[in-house]
C-alpha cells in the first residue's frame, strides 16, 4: 500500500521568494504529526499545496498516490488558518451544509460537540466570539470521517480549558486508518498527543522524528528543542 501522504522534491516559489525548497517527506496512517516551524518557514504553503489551493512550482504531493484534486478532497479534512465559512450562516445551517458537501460527515458528532461546548445552534457565525468561531470550524472539520486531517493553527484563539477539550477530541477521534497533521506554535500544549514532529525551516524539513526519541536523545521537550533549533 502506498503512503498516505508523500511530498516529493516539492518546491514552491513566489517570484523571487522560495517558500518550499525541494522538500521531501512521507507520512503513514495512524499518526498525529506536529508541523512546526517559525513564521514564514513554509508551513501554510505546504498545507495549501496538500489541499490543492496552490500548485507546486516543481515536484509533487501525493495523497494515497493521487495528486490533490476532487478525489483527494473526499479524504482530506482541512481546517484553514482563517475563517472560511462566511459570516451570516447559523451554526445549524453550517452543519447542514457540511452534510450536503461531504459524504463522510457525521452530523450527530458535530451536534454533540457543539452542545457540549454550549454554542447555540441558531447563532450566526458573526455573532460568536473569535474563540467560539474557531471551535465551530474545528468541530465541523473533525466531524468528518476523513483519512487525513490537516489542521492549520487549530488552537491559537481558544482558552486553555477548551484547548484541552479540543485535544481530547483529537485523541478520541483517533483511528489507525487516519492521520492528523497539526501546524501550531503552541507546542507544549500539543506535544503529548503527537507521535512525530516535523521541523520546517526555510522551506526544508530539518528534523523528522518521534516525540519520544527527541526526549530520549536530547533530554528535552519538543518545545525546548524548537527554541534551540530556531534560536535567533
Amino acid at each position: 500500500m502506498s503512503d498516505l501522504l508523500q511530498c516529493i522534491d516539492l518546491t514552491k516559489t513566489y517570484g523571487q521568494i522560495t517558500a518550499l525548497n525541494n522538500l521531501n517527506f512521507t507520512l503513514g496512517s495512524g499518526k498525529i504529526i506536529g508541523l512546526l516551524g517559525p513564521n514564514g518557514s513554509g508551513k501554510t504553503t505546504l498545507i495549501k499545496i496538500i489541499n490543492g489551493l496552490l500548485t507546486p512550482t516543481s515536484g509533487k504531493v501525493l495523497i494515497e498516490g493521487k495528486e490533490p484534486g476532487v478525489e483527494t478532497k473526499k479524504i482530506v479534512a482541512y481546517l484553514p488558518d482563517r475563517n472560511f465559512l462566511g459570516k451570516s450562516p447559523t451554526v445549524d445551517k453550517l452543519v447542514k451544509l457540511f452534510v450536503d458537501f461531504y459524504e463522510d460527515f457525521r452530523p450527530e458528532l458535530a451536534y454533540e460537540m457543539i452542545d457540549k461546548l454550549q454554542i447555540p445552534r441558531n447563532s450566526q457565525l458573526k455573532t460568536l466570539s473569535k474563540g467560539n468561531k474557531e471551535k465551530v470550524c474545528l468541530i465541523l472539520v473533525m466531524s468528518r470521517n476523513a483519512k487525513l486531517y490537516v489542521l492549520d493553527e487549530p488552537i491559537a484563539g481558544v482558552d486553555p480549558a477548551t484547548r484541552d477539550y479540543i485535544i481530547s477530541t483529537i485523541i478520541n477521534n483517533y483511528n489507525p486508518d487516519s492521520s492528523v497533521i497539526i501546524s501550531t506554535h503552541l507546542i507544549s500544549d500539543i506535544e503529548p498527543v503527537l507521535n512525530d514532529v516535523v521541523f520546517i525551516k526555510n522551506g526544508n524539513v530539518v528534523l523528522h522524528n518521534t516525540v519520544d526519541e527527541i526526549r530520549e536523545e536530547h533530554g528535552m521537550s519538543v518545545d525546548e528543542l524548537f527554541r534551540e533549533v530556531f534560536k535567533w
Binding site: G30, K31, I32, D164, I167, S168, I171, N172, Y174, S188, E191, P192, V193, L194, N195, V211, D212, E213, R215, E216, G219, M220, S221, D223, E224
Partner: protein, 119 residues
C-alpha cells in the same frame, strides 16, 4: 497518582511507570482489567500509540497480560511491576539525598529526619 508527565522524559516510559505504580499501590489489583488504551490516552492527554507502546513494554516485562479483543489484565504476581519501578525509586532517593546535602544535612541527620517523618 495522576497522569503528571515530565516534559523532558519519553512519554511512553512515564505512562508505563505510572501504570506500574498504580499496580504496586493496589489501585489496579492483581488479575483486574486495566482501562482501555483510549481511556488512558484521553485521561492522560497523550497519543494512543504512545499508550499502546507502554502497554507492549509491560506485557514484555511480565507485568500484565494482553488478551486479544478483550484488553490488558494485571498479572497475579505484581513483583515485575515493582521491579520496573526500582530504578526510578533509586533515582528519586539519590536526588533527595543530594538535596538534603545541599541543605547542610549530613546522612545521619537525614536518616533521623526521615524516621521522625514516617512515625
Amino acid at each position: 497518582m495522576s497522569w503528571k508527565l515530565d516534559k523532558n522524559r519519553p512519554i511512553a516510559v512515564q505512562i508505563g511507570e505510572i501504570l506500574c505504580a498504580r499496580i504496586a499501590a493496589g489501585e489496579y489489583p492483581p488479575l483486574s482489567k486495566l482501562p482501555s488504551v483510549r481511556t488512558i490516552a484521553v485521561e492522560a492527554g497523550v497519543n494512543p500509540n504512545t499508550v499502546q507502546k507502554a502497554i507492549e513494554v509491560l506485557v514484555e516485562k511480565g507485568v500484565i497480560d494482553s488478551v486479544l479483543g478483550s484488553g490488558s489484565y494485571v498479572k497475579e504476581d505484581i513483583s515485575p511491576a515493582k521491579e520496573m519501578l526500582r530504578e526510578r525509586i533509586s533515582d528519586k532517593t539519590r536526588t533527595y539525598l543530594e538535596d538534603m546535602k545541599m541543605l547542610g544535612m549530613n546522612e545521619k541527620e537525614t536518616y533521623e529526619y526521615i524516621g521522625r517523618l514516617i512515625k
